[in-house]
């Protein structure tokens, strides 16, 4: 589960005041709000990439507020994917497991599973250069899911895609959800994405977050 309690942070002239939200275990949360209202900053704080002044962040059964990003067990898909331009797709998928010093066999098995789940099996030896938008997003997802994190954070992962590719991604995300138990928080400003994917929907406005019923 993802739980943010009374989170406050201040970066320059931008501030979030006592923000709270909670996504139950295994559910898909969607955070909506206007561009520039702080959705990305909130996501980055949950991931541990931005320091907070006050509040608590709980992921699963652990309070991670003071842990470094590497220790939080989060799969993070930033805006535009941020793929590693010098690595092949295979190296993207093995990266997290190599860092954790997993065994060669475990890594191979996991790559096969992830590649099949996301239909990127035939892209494994390619580098990010030349991949289409949809392919890049799938590689970014694969990288984030490669080490089986309990929590998945996504920052507008579908905004750069055309309608047809986006619809394919909805199916992909649903497929991923049936095969892995992961609690997700998906940031978007697109109502259709929220309607298609969200179990719980939040609206961010004026530095606060409210859960809304659809």
């Amino acid at each position: 589960m993802i739980a943010v309690e009374e989170l406050s942070l201040c970066i320059g002239s931008f501030a979030l005041e006592r923000v709270s939200l909670s996504v139950p275990v295994g559910k898909y949360g969607v955070l909506m709000g206007k561009t520039g209202c702080g959705k990305t900053t909130l996501l980055e704080s949950i991931a541990g990439l931005k320091r907070i002044q006050n509040g608590q962040i709980v992921l699963g059964d652990r309070t991670v507020t003071h842990l470094r990003p590497a220790e939080r067990g989060i799969g993070y898909v930033p805006q535009d994917g941020a793929l590693f331009s010098t690595m092949t797709v295979r190296e993207h998928l093995t990266f997290a497991m190599v860092i954790r010093k997993n065994g060669q066999q475990a890594i191979s098995r996991r790559i096969e599973k992830v590649a099949e789940l996301l239909s990127i099996g035939d892209l494994l030896e390619r580098k990010p250069f030349g991949l289409s938008g949809g392919e890049r997003q799938r590689v970014a997802f694969g990288r984030a899911l490669s080490f089986e994190p309990a929590v998945l954070l996504m920052d507008e992962p579908l905004s750069a895609l055309d309608d047809e590719t986006r619809n394919q991604m909805y199916d992909l995300i649903r497929r991923v959800r049936t095969q892995t138990v992961v609690t997700a928080l998906h940031v978007t400003h697109n109502r259709q994405e929220a309607a298609e994917l969200g179990d719980v929907i939040f609206q961010m406005e004026d530095g606060t977050v409210k859960e809304i019923d659809e």
């Binding site: 470094r68 590497a70 990266f95 860092i99």
Partner: protein, 284 residues
């Protein structure tokens, strides 16, 4: 339609609208381009003329004769070794500094940035003189005997200037690398060091090659600081740039030009390396 028109306008027949009315006339672009080409072209032609003059003044025999002299062979060897060492040292320093400046906003960052540009704007002679003065103070004084006017002085003098160029290049390189990639690496389980080594450095490879070749070329051309801090002692601290000076001072113009041609050849080789393997938009 007829009701809206007044009686005056109704009497005169409507003349056809001339084709030019309402069209905005723009002057020719030719003078602009001609001006740019003349200004830029003059400089390029001067450069080519300079190099051609050197080439025509000397001959392969002169160059070989110069290369046969033991002093010049020593100078060539020392140049190659010292420039390579300087390039490596410069990278060693420039990569961390460039990374810190690009990634972290710390108090005094702009000041540090400005200080790092000083060796670029300062007259090279001043750099050499300042080094000489520095080694009169403690604790540098303790090492003065084996550095000042000795071979290490050559490397130190070259390094002080070449490193500034390397730092600038690395700063721009790291500025251009998306910090999000490192952030993703952190969430995937990396420490900062791992993220730097596994994600950032490979992305910075082209910039690093450019920084190294720039530092190498810069140290080859360094003269002023070397003269003052390392001296120009034959068979000891003489490098190619000081060889040109020494040959000129004994009146051997042919040898001076021959050695200059060697340096031009080295410079061109380095430029080619930078363009082929380095980053196109970083070559200063």
């Amino acid at each position: 339609m007829t009701e809206a028109v007044s009686s005056d306008e109704q009497s005169a027949p409507l003349s056809p609208i001339p084709p030019d009315v309402g069209v905005h006339h723009v002057g020719s672009d030719a003078p602009f381009y001609i001006g740019m080409v003349v200004l830029g072209g003059t400089y390029v032609l001067l450069l080519i003329a300079m190099l051609a003059a050197d080439l025509f003044y000397t001959s392969p025999d002169h160059v070989l004769a110069a290369l046969a002299k033991p002093a010049i062979q020593y100078s060539l060897k020392l140049s190659l070794i010292s420039c390579s060492l300087t390039a490596l040292l410069s990278l060693w320093v420039a990569v961390p500094i460039g990374y810190l400046l690009a990634r972290h906003r710390f108090w005094g960052r702009d000041l540090v940035d400005a200080i790092l540009d000083i060796p670029i704007v300062l007259p090279p002679l001043v750099v050499g003189l300042s080094l000489l003065i520095l080694f009169q103070f403690w604790p540098f004084q303790l090492a003065a005997d084996w550095i000042v006017y000795q071979i290490p002085a050559v490397i130190l003098a070259q390094f002080m200037v070449a490193c500034a160029f390397a730092v600038r290049t690395m700063r721009v390189t790291f500025d251009q690398i998306d910090p999000r990639c490192e952030q993703v690496a952190l969430t995937l389980g990396c420490t900062r060091a791992q993220a730097f080594a596994m994600v950032v450095l490979p992305e910075a490879k082209r910039g690093i090659i450019t920084a190294a070749t720039l530092a190498w070329a810069r140290s080859l051309g360094e003269f002023g600081p070397l003269l003052i801090f390392a001296g120009a002692t034959r068979m000891k601290t003489e490098v190619l740039s000081t060889t040109v000076f020494l040959e000129l001072s004994v009146g051997d113009l042919e040898a001076a030009v021959a050695v200059s041609i060697l340096m031009v050849a080295a410079a061109i080789t380095v430029l080619v390396i930078a363009r082929v393997w380095g980053s196109r938009d970083l070559t200063l």
